[in-house]
């Protein structure tokens, strides 16, 4: 189903373009705020508009209680969400893939044990929450340093799946005749990994990366529900609120989560953006999976 890859890829490219150049697409500068404004009509009468404002020509996605334009927040926050998703997915694939290959080559491990993992009992996002909680709220680390720390923590958890999968596939390659021939010819482990394992695992690693982007997006969304936002959570007492320091998409959903009954646009637009990102990634992953299935994998 090549159309899935094409549609998903185009959607991801458009999102990435907005994320990289938000100023080109948003009407207002970053952090633009307008709680009260007046409109003068032709007959000279003045009409006052208070935040939050419903979607209109002035604010296409509406504004929030404090006068922030939702569209501007989404466009400027998109970069943080996508950067987190791609950086963590790439790190997980590289770290998990490397450990998986080493595990199979050096330790000749036969898959993961059947014992119950604590990660099955307590979900990984709760582990991540416990690790990030002390540093994320009113963090003195600054958004960028905190972001890198958050990415590192998110990378460490959920590595088990990739390690097990790559380890099993490496073991399958180690049972092939070309691998046996290389061993008989005296190839060492580095040579074997470089020329007889990694080239054949490339498609699996690409697929693992794509799958991980969806998993990371879900993880970021779950953390957002509990007000732990990528780039930091700002806790203020006047007004009493937990808000996203970067305005990343899951953060906006978490921040406006209670907006179900009034001023619904505050929740709907970030939620819609999150679903567009998720849908694009899923479509791309599904298409990629279908395409890779067609490839000849007789060596397994």
């Amino acid at each position: 189903m090549r159309y899935k890859i094409i549609i998903g890829g185009i959607a991801i490219a458009v999102l990435a373009c907005i994320a990289v150049f938000p100023a080109w697409f948003s009407r207002y500068p970053r952090g633009y705020q307008d709680t009260l404004r007046s409109i003068e009509s032709r007959d000279g009468s003045v009409e006052w508009r208070f935040a939050p404002e419903a979607p209109s020509d002035t604010y296409r996605f509406g504004s929030d209680n404090y006068g922030y334009d939702i569209q501007t927040r989404i466009f400027w926050g998109l970069g943080w969400t996508l950067a987190c998703v791609f950086i963590v997915a790439l790190s997980r694939t590289m770290v998990g893939g490397t450990i998986g290959i080493i595990r199979a080559l050096v330790f000749k491990a036969e898959g993961l044990g059947r014992s119950v993992s604590p990660l099955a009992v307590i979900p990984s996002f709760v582990f991540v929450f416990f690790l990030l909680y002390p540093v994320t709220i009113n963090s003195p680390l600054g958004s960028l340093r905190l972001f890198l720390f958050q990415c590192a923590v998110m990378t460490v958890f959920d590595l088990g799946g990739i390690i097990a999968s790559i380890s099993l596939k490496t073991q399958a390659l180690m049972r092939t005749s070309f691998y046996d021939s290389a061993v008989s010819c005296g190839a060492n482990r580095t040579w074997l990994a470089r020329y007889h394992i990694i080239p054949f695992l490339a498609t699996d690693l690409i697929e693992a990366f794509a799958t991980q982007t969806v998993a990371v997006l879900q993880l970021v969304g779950r953390l957002g529900v509990f007000s732990l936002f990528v780039g930091g959570t700002i806790m203020t007492l006047d007004p009493v609120m937990l808000s996203s320091a970067t305005g990343e998409i899951a953060g906006l959903i978490g921040q406006y989560r209670g907006r179900l009954q009034g001023a619904r646009w505050m929740l709907l637009y970030p939620l819609g953006t999150y679903l567009i990102i998720l849908g694009s990634l899923r479509l791309f992953v599904s298409g990629l999976h279908d395409e890779l299935q067609k490839l000849d994998r007789t060596y397994y």
Partner: protein, 304 residues
């Protein structure tokens, strides 16, 4: 030897949960730097173990009130268990029945539509599904004035609400359905099935007594994945629908200090106790679902 291995595994398992609960004490930001405060973490663990004997580890505060953990935990545990066990049974049995009733070789259009719809639902994260369901109820109220379901827990209604039950049931149901379909298509080509068909055994007997039992065996191996999915959803569902369960208790009280539902301070003993109770809930759910699979096996072998 097996007992020793089990003991070592249980100890390792508990240590991971203790280390996890220690993270907010272990990692702190001091003078703008992230530092590891090992002495504080060590004292917290020692205090927790000694507090188990003298009762300090069973005390926690919520707002300005002090509570006894042992006295209130059953109230929260029952809610969490109800939302794990009831949807677990419904999802597992429903997914098994749906998957088994469908012929794996049958690729008619309505089945493709059903599969596409279920796949789309399964792709939605639990917290998004919860928000969409709540939104749907509110939009129906706005349009018709009729309230279909309660959108979050309040004391005037019971704790068993339709929407959280739907969210908790959907994921195990779809997962089991997909696993049953996959397993059924493998089983259909197995030699014992071909042999049984050649002996002239009826189609219903083939489907239930042969394929059903084989599918149940594969479902049993997938049970940890099903329960793991539910363990993730329960945290989001309790929080999203304000259910008075253990996981919401964890986030609204263990991290709250003097302000309920706020991130003020951290109560290590309470967090650890709740996490250990959640581990117990996992094993109870697993046992119940294993019993359900055994019951389903008895039904397909003897009753159908």
């Amino acid at each position: 030897m097996r007992l020793l291995r089990s003991l070592a595994h249980a100890t390792g398992f508990m240590m991971v949960i203790i280390v996890m609960a220690l993270c907010p004490i272990l990692f702190i930001v001091k003078d703008g730097q992230l530092v590891i405060d090992a002495p504080a973490a060590f004292h917290a663990v020692v205090d927790w173990f000694s507090g188990l004997v003298d009762g300090r580890s069973w005390i926690f505060s919520s707002g300005s009130t002090t509570w006894d953990f042992a006295a209130v935990v059953p109230k929260f545990a029952i809610v969490t268990l109800a939302y794990l066990v009831v949807p677990g049974i419904a999802g597992l049995a429903g997914g098994f029945a749906l998957g088994l009733l469908r012929d794996p070789s049958d690729a008619r259009h309505r089945h493709q539509v059903l599969d596409a719809a279920l796949n789309a639902l399964f792709a939605l994260p639990d917290f998004v599904l919860a928000v969409l369901l709540q939104l749907m109820v509110i939009i129906v109220i706005d349009i018709t004035g009729y309230k279909l379901f309660t959108i979050s827990y309040d004391t005037s209604h019971g704790v068993l609400l339709v929407l959280p039950l739907v969210v908790m049931t959907l994921y195990p149901l779809i997962y089991s359905y997909r696993m049953v379909l996959r397993s059924a298509s493998h089983t259909a080509r197995a030699s014992f099935m071909v042999d049984a068909e050649a002996r002239g055994i009826s189609r219903s007997s083939l489907r239930y007594k042969h394929m059903g039992v084989a599918v149940l065996a594969s479902l049993k191996t997938d049970l940890p994945s099903i329960v793991a999915i539910m363990m993730t959803s329960i945290f989001l569902v309790e929080y999203s629908f304000s259910l008075p369960g253990m996981t919401r208790w964890l986030f609204t009280v263990a991290f709250s200090g003097s302000r309920r539902g706020w991130y003020d301070s951290y109560q290590f003993a309470l967090a650890l106790n709740i996490l250990l109770c959640m581990a117990a809930a996992y094993f109870v759910t697993m046992l119940v679902l294993r019993a359900v699979l055994a019951a389903l096996k008895a039904v397909v072998v003897h009753a159908l």
